[in-house]
C-alpha cells in the first residue's frame, strides 16, 4: 500500500514508531499521530458507514468537529468506548480500534442496501411509513430500525475504571489555547490573577499547530506560561458546558492516550468557578454542498492542511480544492509547498483577489473560476470529479484522489450560547457572532468572528445542472441529511428552523451540527426566500462534545453512590449474623436467623422471645431532635395536634404532626427531660423533613419564641427493650435509676449511667 506520509514535516515524533490495529489489521504510526492521521498515512480513507444509508465515509475534519469517522476503541474487559472521533483518538502502541455500523465488514456492508432504497427514506420517513399498524412499532419497526441505523454498540460489561473530580476557582478562565487564547493568557500572566487555560487537544496551540510560521512563537509563549506561577494550563481537557454564574464543566482525559491505562483515574471532572471567562474556541470550516460530497476523500481544506502540516500526512497525491473562500486558496498553497499535489483550485466565485491568482500561477496550480464540482466518481475513494460552470455549461471531468472543501468559517459559539449570550448575524462572513453577553464573558479571536482567513462567498449549495431531486448533496454527514431533505421539509410546510431541524434531524447528531448548522440554515433561507436571521439558529446545549457517563458520575457509584448510615450497634449485629434492611440511608438489623431458619421462622422465634421473656431492637435510626428553651413547651404545643404544656418532666407522650393541609406528615414519642428541654423522636425517614418544618415555623412564623432546635439523631444509640423480663435484664446494667414499676411507670423517662 502506498504511503501517504510526507518525507518531512509535522509535529509527530518520527523516532518513535508505534503499531496499532484497525478492524484487526495492523498499521504503523508515530507518536503524536491521531488514529485519523496514522490511518491516512497508511492510505486508509474509508473510516465508517453512515447512520441511515450506510454510505462509505471518510474524514471530513481533523479535530473534534469530525462527523463521520466514529470509531470504537477497546482496551480489555469493560474498557470499550464507542463513538470516538478518529481525529481525537491519540495513537498509542497497541491501540485497538474498530469501525462501526457495518456488517459483515466495513468494505462490504449489507446495510448499504439502504442507500439504493434511499428514495424511500426521505425526511421524516419514519413518521410517515411506520405508523400502521400501530402495534407493529414496538415489536417490529423500532427494533428493526435500531438494528439498521445507528452508531457504535454500548459496552456490555461494568466499567473497571474510576473517575476523579475536583472543584477549581480562578479569576480568569480561558477556553481554547489557540493563538487568541494564548495571547489572552500571556496578558493575564503579568497580573496577579489566578488563570486557568484549557484546551481539548493533547497539545496547546490550536490553529497555530497547523501553521509552521507560528511554531517558534508557540514554543516561546508556552514557556512563558509555564514560567508564570499564576497560570495553569490543562490540555486534553474539554470544556463541555457553560452553566450559571461562570460555572464551567470540563473533563480532563488522563489515561486514554497511554498504552497502559494504569491504576490512576481515567478522567477527571473539573467544576470551575471563574471570575471572568474568555472564550477563544476558534472557528470551524464549513463544507460545501454538492452531489457526492460525502465520498471518502472529500474533506475540509483546513483539515487537509492540518494533516499535512501538523502530522506530515498527504490526504492525496492530487487533490482538487473546491472553494468559495480565500482560505481555500491559502490552504492549497501551503499544501502544495508541503508536498501535496494540487490538481486544481475551483472557485465558485468569478473573481478573486489578484495576489491569489499570482501565487497559484507561481506554484503552477491550475485555476477554474466561476465553476463548481457537480459530481464525484468513486465509492470508497475519490477517483475523479465532474466540474461545470455556474450556468451548467462546459461539463468536464478532472481526475483527482481528494476533494478539499473550503466553504467559509463558522465561529464556535457553542459555549457562548450555553451561557445565554445573544448572537448577531454578520452578512459579510455569513455567520452568527457573539453579541451581548449574559455572564462575565467575552469572546476573542475567530470565535468572535475576528480572523485573517480573507473573504469569501456564503453559498447554500453549489450550482449544478443536475436535477436537485436526484442528487445526494449532504448537509449533515452524521445524520445523513441532504439538501433535498431540507427543501422537502419546507415544501411540506415547515417554517421554523427548530421544526425543520427536528423533522430532518439536521444538526441533531452527536456533533450537534458543528459542520452542518449554517449550511442547513442557508438552504432553508434560500428555499423560504427569507434572510437567515429571520429563520433563527437552533439552540446549542451541553455537552460541546460527547462525554463519558463515568466522568459525570465520578466516585458516586456502587457503594459510594450515597452514604450508608450505620448505627452504633451495627458491628455487633453484623457479628451476630443479622440480616440487614435499608431504611432511607440507614442500614438496620432486620432479623437474626439461626442455622436452617428462613425469615418467617426467625421472626416467629424472636416474637415468641419478646412475648415470653425479653427482646431488643436497634431503634437508633429514629430521628431525634432536642428542643430547648423557655418556650420549648409552647413551641411543641403549637407543632403537634395534642397538648404538651401539661406534660411533666420525666414523662413521655405520643405526638402527631400534621401539615397545613391536615395530612399527617410524621409521628413519634417524645419526652420532657426538664422544664425547658424536650427530646423529640421522628420516623427514620422523616428526621430531616421534620426538623426543616419546625425550623421554618420557628424562624418565619414565631420568631418571638425563645427555642433552639438541634438534631441529635446520631448522638444517641437507641435500644428498644421489650418483654416481661425487660426490667430484669436492664437492672444490672444501669446505675442511679430505680426501675421498679412505681418509680419508672409506663411512658416515663429517666436518665442514668
Amino acid at each position: 500500500m502506498t504511503s501517504y506520509r510526507l518525507p518531512q514535516g509535522g509535529r509527530i515524533n518520527r523516532a518513535a514508531p508505534l503499531t496499532f490495529t484497525f478492524d484487526g489489521k495492523s498499521y504503523q504510526g508515530f507518536e503524536g499521530d491521531t488514529l485519523a492521521s496514522a490511518l491516512l498515512a497508511n492510505g486508509v480513507q474509508l473510516f465508517g458507514r453512515s447512520f441511515k444509508y450506510h454510505r462509505p465515509r471518510g474524514l471530513v475534519g481533523a479535530g473534534s468537529e469530525e462527523p463521520n469517522a466514529l470509531i470504537s476503541v477497546t482496551r480489555g474487559p469493560g474498557r470499550f468506548t464507542p463513538n470516538l472521533r478518529a481525529t481525537s483518538i491519540e495513537a498509542y502502541h497497541g491501540l485497538k480500534a474498530t469501525s462501526q455500523n457495518r456488517w459483515p465488514s466495513l468494505r462490504f456492508d449489507f446495510g448499504a442496501i439502504n442507500d439504493r432504497l434511499g428514495m424511500f427514506f426521505p425526511a421524516g420517513f419514519y413518521n410517515k411509513t411506520f405508523m400502521w399498524p400501530r402495534s407493529f412499532w414496538e415489536k417490529l419497526y423500532e427494533p428493526a430500525i435500531r438494528q439498521m441505523a445507528g452508531l457504535g454498540n454500548p459496552p456490555t460489561e461494568d466499567d473497571p475504571d474510576h473517575y476523579s473530580a475536583t472543584y477549581a476557582h480562578c479569576d480568569l478562565l480561558i477556553i481554547g489555547a489557540g493563538p487568541a487564547g494564548i495571547d489572552a493568557a500571556l496578558e493575564a500572566a503579568g497580573t496577579k490573577k489566578r488563570v486557568i487555560l484549557i484546551d481539548e487537544q493533547p497539545e496547546a496551540g490550536g490553529g497555530a499547530l497547523a501553521d509552521p510560521c507560528l511554531w517558534a512563537w508557540l514554543e516561546r509563549s508556552l514557556q512563558a506560561l509555564a514560567d508564570a506561577p499564576n497560570v495553569t494550563l490543562l490540555t486534553r481537557t474539554t470544556a463541555f458546558g457553560y452553566f450559571h454564574d461562570n460555572f464551567i464543566g470540563a473533563v480532563e482525559r488522563l489515561t486514554d492516550h497511554q498504552s497502559e491505562p494504569g491504576h490512576g483515574p481515567r478522567e477527571k471532572l473539573w467544576r470551575i468557578r471563574a471570575g471572568d471567562v474568555i472564550l477563544a474556541q476558534g472557528a470551524i470550516e464549513r463544507p460545501l454542498v454538492f452531489d457526492g460530497n460525502d465520498t471518502p476523500g472529500v474533506m475540509l481544506a483546513s483539515a487537509a492542511k492540518t494533516f499535512a502540516v501538523r502530522y506530515g500526512v498527504a490526504v492525496g497525491q492530487s487533490a482538487a480544492v473546491m472553494t468559495s473562500h480565500d482560505s481555500g486558496w491559502r490552504d492549497a498553497f501551503l499544501l502544495k509547498q508541503s508536498g501535496v499535489g494540487i490538481a486544481a483550485i475551483i472557485d465558485v466565485r468569478s473573481e478573486v483577489a489578484r495576489p491569489l491568482h499570482d501565487q497559484a500561477a507561481a506554484l503552477g496550480i491550475p485555476v477554474r473560476l466561476g465553476q463548481s464540482v457537480i459530481g464525484v466518481t468513486g465509492r470508497h475513494a475519490v477517483q475523479s470529479i465532474e466540474i461545470a460552470a455556474n450556468d451548467g455549461t462546459g461539463r468536464t471531468t478532472l481526475p483527482c484522489d481528494a476533494v478539499l472543501m473550503a466553504g467559509g468559517w463558522t465561529p464556535t459559539v457553542h459555549l457562548w450560547s450555553h451561557s445565554k449570550g445573544s448572537l448577531d448575524w454578520r452578512e459579510d462572513i455569513g455567520a452568527f457572532v457573539p453579541a451581548r453577553p449574559a455572564e462575565k464573558v467575552r469572546c476573542v479571536g475567530a470565535c468572535a468572528g475576528n480572523w485573517d482567513f480573507g473573504s469569501g462567498l456564503t453559498i447554500d449549495a453549489l450550482p449544478t445542472p443536475k436535477d436537485p431531486r436526484r442528487i445526494k448533496a449532504f448537509v449533515d454527514f452524521q445524520n445523513d441529511v441532504t439538501a433535498k431533505d431540507i427543501r422537502l421539509a419546507i415544501q411540506e410546510g415547515f417554517r421554523s428552523i427548530e421544526h425543520i431541524k427536528r423533522y430532518t434531524t439536521n444538526g441533531m447528531a452527536t456533533d450537534q451540527g458543528k459542520t452542518s448548522n449554517l449550511n442547513g440554515l442557508q438552504i432553508a433561507s434560500t428555499a423560504l426566500a427569507r434572510p437567515v436571521p429571520e429563520i433563527g439558529l437552533t439552540t446549542f446545549r451541553p455537552p460541546y462534545t460527547p462525554q463519558s457517563f463515568g466522568a459525570l458520575a465520578g466516585h458516586a457509584k456502587g457503594a459510594l453512590f450515597q452514604p450508608t448510615r450505620k448505627t452504633n450497634i451495627d458491628s455487633w449485629a453484623e457479628d451476630n449474623g443479622a440480616v440487614f434492611e435499608l431504611v432511607a440511608q440507614w442500614r438496620r438489623a432486620r432479623y437474626f436467623p439461626q442455622p436452617g431458619e428462613d425469615m418467617h421462622a426467625a421472626v416467629n422465634r424472636e416474637c415468641r422471645a419478646v412475648r415470653q421473656s425479653v427482646g431488643i431492637f436497634d431503634a437508633s435510626t429514629l430521628g431525634k431532635i432536642e428542643v430547648v428553651g423557655p418556650d420549648a413547651a409552647e413551641f411543641i404545643n403549637r407543632m403537634y395536634t395534642n397538648p404538651w404544656k401539661s406534660l411533666e418532666p420525666g414523662r413521655c407522650r405520643y405526638g402527631l404532626l400534621l401539615k397545613e393541609d391536615g395530612f399527617i406528615t410524621d409521628d413519634g414519642v417524645s419526652a420532657r427531660l426538664a422544664e425547658d428541654r424536650f427530646h423529640l423522636t421522628t420516623t427514620t425517614g422523616g428526621a430531616a423533613r421534620v426538623l426543616n418544618m419546625m425550623e421554618d415555623y420557628l424562624q418565619t412564623e414565631w420568631p418571638d419564641l425563645n427555642v433552639w432546635l438541634t438534631s441529635t439523631t446520631e448522638q444517641y444509640a437507641v435500644i428498644a427493650l421489650q418483654g416481661p423480663m425487660a426490667r430484669k435484664l436492664l437492672e444490672p446494667l444501669v446505675e442511679r435509676i430505680d426501675l421498679s414499676p412505681e418509680a419508672f411507670p409506663h411512658m416515663a423517662v429517666r436518665e442514668g449511667v
Binding site: 450559571h244 454564574d245 468557578r273 445565554k420 449574559a438 397545613e660 393541609d661 421554618d696 412564623e701
Partner: protein
C-alpha cells in the same frame, strides 16, 4: 450552578447549599377556623407562577440554616436580590 447570596452569612454560596422553600410572603392566617373553604384553599394551594420576577423563600440548609426571601427572574434564572425573613417585600 447558580450562586446565591445568603443575607445572614453575607456570602455568595453555590446553589447546592440551599433548599427552595416555595413562594414568599404568603401570610399564615391568624384564625384558620374563621376562613371559608375557598379562602383556605387559596392559602394552601394557589400560588403565583409569573414569567419574570418571582418572590420566593430559600433556606441555607447546608450553611447557617436560616430561611430568607429572594427575588428571582424565572426567565433568566438570575437572582435579583435576597433579604432576611421579616423584611418587607422587595
Amino acid at each position: 450552578m447558580i450562586l446565591i447570596h445568603c443575607p445572614y452569612c453575607d456570602e455568595d454560596r453555590p446553589e447546592i447549599e440551599f433548599a427552595y422553600g416555595g413562594e414568599a410572603h404568603i401570610a399564615r392566617p391568624l384564625d384558620p377556623s374563621a376562613m371559608s373553604d375557598a379562602e383556605w384553599e387559596r392559602y394552601l394551594f394557589i400560588r403565583n407562577n409569573p414569567r419574570g420576577r418571582h418572590h420566593e423563600r430559600w433556606r441555607h440548609s447546608h450553611g447557617c440554616g436560616r430561611f430568607f426571601n429572594a427575588v428571582r427572574d424565572t426567565v433568566t434564572d438570575k437572582f435579583e436580590t435576597t433579604y432576611k425573613a421579616g423584611e418587607p417585600r422587595k
